[in-house]
């Protein structure tokens, strides 16, 4: 483990120094309705600072689902909403982030960072593989044998 990381980390038992039940996520959440949570995030995301931040994040290839997940987890940690209403609002927040990035003029928008699987039918796959094999065989036969250990002409 990195020595610097050990120094910067919390002291063992640090989590037990505060009275249990006082953390924000241990309190009743501020919003419990889907409409309230969506309102809260839409207000936050439409501000001028957010536009630029989301645009930069999208241009740097950060998936919108990752952004939404971080935002919702932070919301739960701060006691703004519960985790279940956060999970329900997840697709809405992703859609909102996509829209904001698009309107802000992001050049690329990654949604979930997973590439689409290319579906090729079996027949095409076999055809391509046979062509590739034939190409390799042709190249191998065309390479002139001039090496030190090459066979002499028959």
């Amino acid at each position: 483990m990195d020595a610097e990381m050990l120094i910067n980390g919390p002291v063992p038992g640090c989590s037990l120094t505060v009275e249990p039940g006082n953390a924000p996520w241990e309190q009743p959440p501020k919003y419990v309705e889907l409409a309230d949570v969506v309102d809260y995030y839409s207000d936050k995301l439409v501000s001028k600072d957010s536009l630029q931040t989301i645009k930069d994040a999208a241009n740097n290839g950060i998936p919108m689902t990752d952004l939404a997940e971080v935002m919702l987890k932070y919301g739960v940690m701060q006691g703004i909403h519960s985790i279940d209403v956060g999970s329900i609002s997840f697709p809405i927040i992703v859609e909102l982030l996509k829209t904001v990035a698009e309107i802000a003029g992001a050049t690329q928008i990654a949604i979930d960072g997973e590439e689409e699987e290319l579906e090729v039918d079996e027949e095409t796959f076999r055809q391509v593989m046979n062509e590739a094999k034939m190409n390799v065989a042709e190249k191998a036969s065309s390479v002139s044998k001039k090496g030190l250990m090459a066979k002499g002409e028959e």
Binding site: L34, V38, T65, D66, A68, E69, L72, G86, S87, I88, S89, F90, P91, I92, V94, E95, L96, T99, E102, I103, I111, D112
Partner: protein, 69 residues
């Protein structure tokens, strides 16, 4: 949350598209109905429908903003 995103969206998309494919009445008079009422139509207020409504509203707003530029 992230893992199930595609699955959730796959179940939301048909709900969004269902609303768009509704036939509109041909009459445009003042007293003409705004939509053709169907007997099968039932009001569902489950979570997926609510989420679909929000997603549709966001998409509509985006279209408006982009077309208004």
């Amino acid at each position: 949350m992230k893992k199930n995103y595609r699955k959730v969206m796959a179940s939301i998309e048909p709900i969004i598209n269902k609303d768009q494919s509704k036939p509109k009445p041909s009459k445009t008079g003042l007293l003409s109905p705004s939509s053709i009422p169907s007997s099968k139509e039932t009001k569902s207020n489950d979570v997926m429908t609510q989420v679909a409504k929000y997603v549709k509203a966001i998409r509509d707003k985006k279209k408006e903003v982009i077309n208004g530029r």
